[in-house]
Amino acid sequence: MKRAKIFAAAARLAVYLAALITLGALLFIIGYIVVRGVPHLTWSLFAWRYNSENVSLMPALLNTILMTTLSLLIAVPLGVSAAVYLVEYARRGSRLVRIVRMNAETLSGIPSIVYGLFGMLFFVNALKLGLSMLSGALTLSVMILPVILRTSEEALISVPDSYREGSFGLGAGRLRTIFRVVLPDAVPGILAGVILGVGRIVGETAALIYTAGTASDTVSGIMDSARTLSVHLYALSQEGLYLDQTYATAVVLLGIVIVINALSSALARKVGLHHG
C-alpha cells in the first residue's frame, strides 16, 4: 500500500514538473525577447522608409499585410470551393474525396524550404515572375491551401444534414442551399482555418526568401521583390549590426503572432458553442 502511495505522489510530482518546465520555457523565450527588445522599441522603427541608418520595420510590416491579403485572395476561394465540391457534390467517402484528403495531409507536412525551392523553380524561374510579391503569394497559397481546404471541409461537414434537408424540402436547389444555409453556418469554422493560414504566412521565412526576395522597401507593385516581417527579422540578424533593433522587431512579430493565436482560440470557442 505504502509503495502505491509513494508511486502516485512521485508520478504527480513528475507531471507537475513537466508542466512547469514547458510553461517556463515558453515564458523564458517570450520574456527574454521582450526584455531585450522593448527598451529599443522606438517610433523611428515605424518610419515609412527603410534605410541603413534607421532599420524601420514598417515597410516589412506593410509588405506582410499585402502578402497575406494576396495569398488569402488566391487560397481562400480555391480552398473553400474545393471543400464545397468535396462535401456538397462529390459522393461522401468516394475515391476522389479520399485521394484529395490524403494529398492535403501530405502537403501540409512538407517543410517550408521545399516550398521555397519549388516556388523558386516554378514561379520565379519557369513562369518568369522573378523574385516578387506575386511569386511569394503564389507559393504561400500553395502552402496554406491544405489547411484552408481541411478546415473548410470540417466546417462544412459539421453543418447538420437536417439543415440541408429542410432547405431541399422547401424547394431550394443545391446552390441556394449551399450559399444561403450551409456556408453561412460554416463561416466560423472556415474563418478559424483562415486565421491558421494567416499565422503560417506571418511566420514564414524560408519559402519567402527564395520567392519574394529580401528587398527592403515597401512594394509599389506585385511584381516587386519585397521582404515580410519575419524575413526582415532574418535579414537584420544576418547582418549582425542592429542587435537591439532586431530584438525590437522580434517583439513586434511575437506580438502579432500572439494576437493571431488569441483570435483563433476565441473563434474556435465560438464554433464549439455554436455546434454544441
Binding site: S167, G169, L170, G171, D185
Partner: protein, 249 residues
C-alpha cells in the same frame, strides 16, 4: 378527388427492396396516417411523395406516383413539386437564422420579393401555425433559442409559407413533450380544412385521434388501408389487429 394516387410502386436502395407493389390513394383535404413497425417503409414512402429520395445514392423506383393525376417522376420540376408538397421532419430543424428569415426562406426561394409582401407572408404563415402571438415580438431573434415545441410549429409555419397543397409530416411529435404534441395535433386538425396532410406516426392513439384514413405498412407492403374508425374498431387483417393492439411491433 384523390390528391395522390400511387400504383405498383417498388423502391430499391441498391439491392434492398424497401417498398413492394405499393398501391394507395390519398384523399385530398383529409389526414391520412401511415403506421407500422420500424423499418416497414412508411417514411420511405412519405419521402417518395416529394422526391426527397432523389437525394439518396442508389435509390431506384418503378411504378407511378400521381399528384392530381400528374406523374411526379416524369417531367415534373422538382422545385415546383416541393413547393406544392411540403415536409415537416421528425426532429425540428429550423435554420440557424432569425424566425423571420426562417419563414421567409421558402417564399424568397420561389421569387417573392419586397419587404411588405414578405412581412405579410410571414405573419400569415405564423398565424396558420398558431404561433404568431408567441413570436410576433421575437421575429428577429434566433430560431434556435425557441423551445422544441415552438421550433416544430415554426417549421410548420415555414412549410406553409410557400403555400403548399400537401403537408407531409414524418413523426412530427415524437421528439416533443405531451403538451406540444397535443397542440400540434389540434393544429393538424385545423389545417386539414385547407391542406391534404399525410402523417407518419408510431403513436397508435395519435393516428386514431386525428386521422381520417390509415394505412398499415409491414415489411415494405401496405397490408391494409381504410378509414380510421374501421381500422381501429374492426380491422380486416389479422396482422393489422395484432400490430395496433400492441401484440407485436
Amino acid at each position: 378527388m384523390d390528391k395522390f394516387t400511387i400504383e405498383n410502386l417498388d423502391l430499391y436502395y441498391g439491392e434492398f427492396q424497401a417498398l413492394k407493389h405499393v398501391g394507395l390513394s390519398v384523399p385530398e383535404r383529409e389526414i391520412t396516417a401511415f403506421i407500422g413497425p420500424s423499418g416497414c417503409g412508411k417514411s420511405t414512402l412519405l419521402r417518395t411523395l416529394n422526391r426527397m429520395n432523389d437525394l439518396i445514392e442508389g435509390c431506384r423506383i418503378t411504378g407511378s406516383v400521381l399528384l392530381d393525376g400528374e406523374n411526379i417522376y416524369r417531367g415534373m420540376d422538382v422545385t415546383l413539386l416541393r413547393k406544392r408538397v411540403g415536409m415537416v421532419f421528425q426532429k425540428p430543424n429550423p435554420f440557424p437564422m432569425s424566425v423571420y428569415d426562417n419563414v421567409a426562406f421558402g417564399p424568397r426561394t420561389h421569387g417573392v420579393r419586397g419587404r411588405a409582401k414578405l412581412d405579410d407572408v410571414v405573419e400569415r404563415s405564423l398565424r396558420s401555425a398558431a404561433i404568431w402571438d408567441e413570436l410576433r415580438d421575437r421575429l428577429k431573434k434566433d430560431a434556435l433559442g425557441l423551445s422544441g415545441g415552438q421550433q416544430q410549429r415554426l417549421c410548420i409555419a415555414r412549410a406553409l409559407a410557400v403555400e403548399p397543397e400537401v403537408l407531409l409530416m414524418d413523426e412530427p411529435t415524437s421528439a416533443l413533450d405531451p403538451i406540444s404534441t397535443i397542440r400540434i395535433e389540434d393544429l393538424c386538425v385545423t389545417l386539414k380544412e385547407n391542406y391534404t396532410i399525410i402523417i407518419v406516426t408510431h403513436n397508435m392513439q395519435q393516428a386514431a385521434r386525428i386521422s381520417d384514413r390509415t394505412a398499415f405498412f409491414l415489411l415494405g407492403e401496405v397490408v391494409e388501408s381504410s378509414d380510421t374508425e374501421t381500422m381501429f374498431r374492426i380491422p380486416h387483417d389479422r396482422r393489422t389487429e395484432d400490430y395496433i393492439t400492441g401484440r407485436f411491433g
